[in-house]
Symmetry: C2
Subunit: 181 residues, 2 copies
């Protein structure tokens, strides 16, 4: 089972790199109204040559549309993909920063690394959880308040830990749990 799951990493529809070409076009079109090859190069910090090759492949694959003046925009497929990735990024960023209380910069970084890898199933469940967690339900309000006053401390010596199973990767790293306020 697990032996085979890790390869799925590479079976993702598009590579991490290609997804970011699409994201770049989305951002450029949204912010400056258009996206030429050179704009993508500058935005992603890649050479014109590299961008030319990859963008043309993505045009061939139907994710990007090129007009007669060589301006690019996303196809419907491309838009769908970008919307999915952006939704997941936003979701994870908020999960980490607003609920887990991770430093926002780290939350953003981690969300960006995993955004295109996480399934829709997990994402939807997280959305559902957040829906309740952030709601006005008294149980949610009470929990949030209690958690904000809580400080986990995994000394994790001999006694059993509620959360970990094996040797604790975090033992002796109490500072990692502290909430900077």
């Amino acid at each position: 089972m697990i032996q085979n799951v890790w390869k799925k990493f590479d079976e993702i529809e598009l590579s991490h790199s290609s997804v970011h070409y699409l994201m770049a076009i989305h951002t450029l079109v949204t912010t400056q109204g258009y996206a030429r090859s050179i704009d993508i190069s500058n935005y992603l910090g890649l050479t014109r040559g590299s961008v030319s090759i990859t963008v043309n492949k993505l045009v061939a694959k139907g994710y990007i549309i090129e007009d007669k003046n060589r301006f690019f925009k996303l196809s419907d497929t491309g838009k769908q993909l970008v919307n999915a990735v952006l939704s997941k990024r936003r979701l994870f960023e908020r999960l980490l920063s607003e609920i887990m209380l991770v430093n926002p910069a780290i939350a953003e970084e981690d969300a960006c690394k995993i955004e295109h890898l996480v399934t829709k199933e997990s994402s939807a469940k997280i959305l559902s959880f957040m829906g309740f967690y952030l709601s006005d339900d008294p149980k949610a309000i009470a929990f949030r308040k209690a958690f904000s006053e809580y400080n986990y401390n995994c000394t994790h010596q001999d006694e059993h830990c509620d959360v970990c199973e094996l040797e604790c990767y975090f033992a002796g790293n109490e500072n990692y749990f502290r909430q900077e306020k």
Copy 2:
């Protein structure tokens, strides 16, 4: 900012692939007591040639130690890396399955895809959250009970959504939120 974060994906200490060679050795040594090149090939489903090349690189980099009979084991560095990755995998698997109520098979799959990418910072905060969430604190107990009876429904038409910001990737996918019991 974000433009540059995505490249960090490739700045991870070892590639996803290499990490899994180390994980394979860990598993093989743990379960059958030793790990030869052929065992790694069989376990990962790769050819002997590919394994030979990559394992020798990882030996050169100091993650793996080879004895005179060509049996492999992890160096201390290798063990540390594997422990970190396993801890994160376990953590995410539990976060998704036990807290977000994601189907366990999907939780495992997603955890396996992101295990080596997530920072220690985020992981520690998740551990902290889980420590409280799964505790005997009455607020936690009350929340868990209430959430297990909750069913999110993102109709997300015109009105504002508590959770999403832009166009909802999940709108019209109510079935994704349903908890199979």
